[in-house]
Symmetry: C2
Subunit: 324 residues, 2 copies
């Protein structure tokens, strides 16, 4: 096989960069003139991109559209909003460019994160970590008796991909009743998949509504007043998808009225929320700063995942996490 050029616009520390360079050798890494730090920033039109056979990171659409050589782009995040358009899908299909993302890299951490949210809520950790009630005091008994067991509770998962698959494994010992909602049911989900028409009934029964929807035209404002009203009173809402899928004013209202007992959000719009935003002052709204996918050794996991796919590309084997 000829020498491949791999354009990398992902900011990597010394060790993962060395791992990447050694992993692709004898093929060549090439970089944009100005390295960008943010996984979501645009890297802009780049002449060196035009020489690349492969792109790894967050390749700009205009670069992909202008390239005559590109055969594969590996996106270093799980989210791929800006690529998720009919135009882009048609373009890469026509020009035979494979698109993969890094779902697998983040699935374990994201599933642990949302599960940590569920258990922290069930065990009332925000309240009980602050409490010093003496044993047998009325407020102690009240706190003890306010923790619902997860066992046999009902869950709706919105958006069914790698994170949901892993979360289902983690929930198994709790014998929860889980249903999923996704754009296209495949039949291999292992749990019932509900249609848009069936979703209101599922929401009305769920103790936990877990939003893992990606950001796209269909999911914009997906959780707004109407769907919040469809939820079971006292339900708990979790979002580790994208902030744009939620109408935050409506969410704040549902939290204030008690329609929802709590919300746990790893994503908001914008991030971080500006000081003074209503969601920041609600005691039943718990926010982490878009860290659900983070984990020790994350850069190495990202590079390792790319290298596994690179081996497959060279061997002409099916790529992991292929999305287009």
């Amino acid at each position: 096989m000829k020498n491949l050029k791999i354009f990398c616009d992902t900011f990597l520390g010394k060790t993962p960069l060395k791992m990447l360079r050694e992993g692709v050798a004898p093929h060549e890494l090439i970089f944009p003139a100005e390295m960008v730090n943010s996984p979501l920033a645009k890297s802009g039109p780049d002449p060196s991109f035009m020489e690349a056979d492969i792109a790894f990171g967050q390749p700009a659409l205009e670069n992909i559209y202008q390239s005559k050589k590109l055969r594969w782009a590996h996106i270093s995040s799980a989210g791929f909003t800006r690529y998720d358009t009919a135009e882009f899908r048609a373009y890469v299909a026509k020009h035979d460019i494979a698109i993969t993302n890094s779902t697998t890299v983040y699935a374990e951490a994201c599933a642990e994160h949302v599960f940590a949210f569920m258990l922290a809520q069930a065990r009332q950790l925000p309240e009980s970590l602050k409490a010093r009630h003496p044993n047998s005091a009325p407020e102690w008994l009240q706190l003890r008796h306010s923790s619902p067991l997860l066992m046999h509770q009902r869950v709706v998962i919105l958006g069914f991909g790698g994170i949901a698959i892993r979360l289902l494994e983690m929930l198994k010992p709790f014998h929860m009743k889980v249903v999923a909602y996704r754009r296209k049911a495949r039949g291999d989900e292992g749990v019932p998949v509900v249609s848009a028409a069936e979703l209101p009934e599922a929401l009305a029964q769920a103790d936990h509504v877990i939003n893992i929807l990606p950001a796209n035209a269909d999911s914009d404002n997906f959780i707004a007043a109407e769907r919040l009203k469809q939820m079971k009173p006292g339900a708990v809402f979790y979002n580790i998808g994208r902030g744009t899928t939620v109408n935050q004013d409506d969410l704040a209202e549902a939290l204030q009225s008690g329609q929802l007992s709590a919300a746990w959000l790893d994503v908001t719009e914008p991030e971080p929320l500006p000081l003074g935003h209503p969601l920041l002052s609600l005691p039943n709204c718990h926010i982490t700063p878009h860290v659900a996918g983070g984990h020790q050794g994350e850069p190495e996991t990202i590079v390792g995942h790319f290298l596994e796919n690179f081996r497959r590309f060279v061997d002409e084997a099916p790529l992991l996490d292929r999305i287009m």
Copy 2:
């Protein structure tokens, strides 16, 4: 079968009391003259106890020793410290009095609680729920990369009973390497059981040390300077057993020095800790006020568990959670 008298010194609300009364009918509930509110308070010598065939709650030792009729005592807690003596064990064996406790009632909630601790620690919830770092800022990357995945980590469980059995089921999807330490290995634990001699080596490898030891002469001060030094630097310590099993000054020192990265305690000695206690001001010490076993419907679960055992007693079937 003759009409049985069941002495009940457990304070129950209206609904669970009705459930109990109806559940034992046509047998008779009898009560101490002064109902006590605390599950750990002594009920004192009681003439009505002398008429009881069965005791349900926290029967005082002196009542049991004086009774000529008692055939079974069902303890309404999982802990049974004051009954856990050679003298008492010999007495009830000689007089053919069965002793059961309520381990099963609390196992689910306790296992969820310690698992909530593990995930909250792994996902750095105490820190990340307070953080508003913008995406890609250095402190954001640091927070993202400071969450170890539970997958494949090592765990030592100290004290192996109903809670540990349930916790093991919950940990299964994470493929953790678990070893247990218990007074008498039975061989059916499903994980390797280490002896006292092997414990230091196990502690030296464990990322998580979970203490579920009951309070008794053997477990007093079990976790003190020496065992804390045996632990892997940066390990996390959890206690949902009893506060007396831990030397809290030594624990505070291990948390201050960084020998332990964090402690999560549901039990302390005393409860609550007095204001100004060193453990209260350590940012890496997280304390809930002895609520691990608490759950929605707890009084009904306690009564339901007793009633199941009562049916077994009447049918002369083996009792659940028999400890003596």
